[in-house]
Symmetry: C3
Subunit: 155 residues, 3 copies
């Protein structure tokens, strides 16, 4: 068995992983600007040194430090990404070590990526259940499949 090519772009599974992971990470980079933008629009800040942008009125400045639902929603969505997308990337990296069949692996990556983009749209627009749960579950189940497949391959 010659497996030292696994983490190279010559391995189609890894190339597919790189492609979908870059998309997911670019999505996460956008979350950062979205938070900042919302903070500016809604004059809702986190650190006292930022409140000068809420004006010169000390009352308005103090108020600008209170949590604002428009900002908090983006932050919740962003934290959800950290809890899930980072985990998916790690699991995929381990899964690739088991040299999985391309046809299977690529579908896991696709389903996961689509599920996370949909989850973001649903979450940011405040669309309730069952949509947020379903988009979340698709990605979540994919993670379990990656974890269990990897475990079964190595024990």
């Amino acid at each position: 068995m010659m497996t030292s090519h696994l983490y190279t772009l010559e391995n189609n599974v890894f190339a597919g992983f790189v492609f979908y992971t870059v998309l997911l990470l670019m999505k996460m980079l956008l979350m950062t600007v979205l938070t900042t933008t919302k903070r500016q629009i809604h004059k809702a800040f986190h650190s006292p040194e930022d409140t000068s942008r809420a004006g010169t009125n000390p009352e308005a400045r103090k108020k600008s430090l209170l949590p604002n639902e428009n900002v908090e929603r983006v932050r919740r969505c962003h934290r959800n990404d950290m809890e899930n997308i980072y985990l998916f990337i790690f699991l995929s990296l381990l899964y690739i070590a088991t040299d999985p069949p391309y046809a299977m692996a690529i579908w896991y990556f696709r389903v996961y990526t689509v599920s996370r983009f949909l989850h973001m749209l649903v979450y940011l627009n405040g669309i309730g259940q069952p949509f947020r749960g379903l988009t979340f579950a698709a990605g979540y189940v994919t993670c379990w499949i990656l974890a269990i497949s990897t475990l079964l391959s190595i024990v």
Copy 2:
């Protein structure tokens, strides 16, 4: 020196890393369901669109958006995992690049994994000091050892 086999399952250190990391990531996957379960049990939600599950009374709905200690405890434990387990995985990946002796590496992975499972049990059950500190410290010190070993090997 031929080191292109390092990130393959033929390398026992990497195989051990894959095994313990899958366990740690599965633990983190469980934290997600645990948060959701606690939210349902304690009727404590984060997003206004979820409050319909707290009933039709507008007061009860509003109250369901307040932080609930049972939910927040799981979320703190989950955040602690993100601050620590992700960091451990990265450090281990770098450490493996230095081709460390198996007998040493595998013990770092074992101690870390056990310490994080114990830390979770201690944290979720509200067991105070010194137990939470000790379980935390075991993993924390392991991370420093991985970091410094890696640094000494490459400079």
Copy 3:
């Protein structure tokens, strides 16, 4: 094309990545102790079982669970690291797969590392804009460059 050496220390790009990433991760390890230290100094805790360190007075104990700006500032900075440094490490790992020129890659790693250390100093000391924004932006733009370079290399 023979690329199975990419993730080995024989590849200068990877060796540089390992060096700067260890520095960034050690910085993050320090954030953890900093939070704990600030909690002790300001008697501000997160979990009810820790409040015994705020004394025996039940009122003082209750008060010690309220958010304390000195602690929260470190936690915000730490979360910012999780949102950004983890993302940078993943993007760099993918970028290395494209076998980039050393002279370019090493500067991305350097700029990113310096920007995050400065960002931390600026944030923890409550230095306002434009400094926090500038130190943040340097790292943020680097991430986009890594993401887009990787994407262009593989499609």
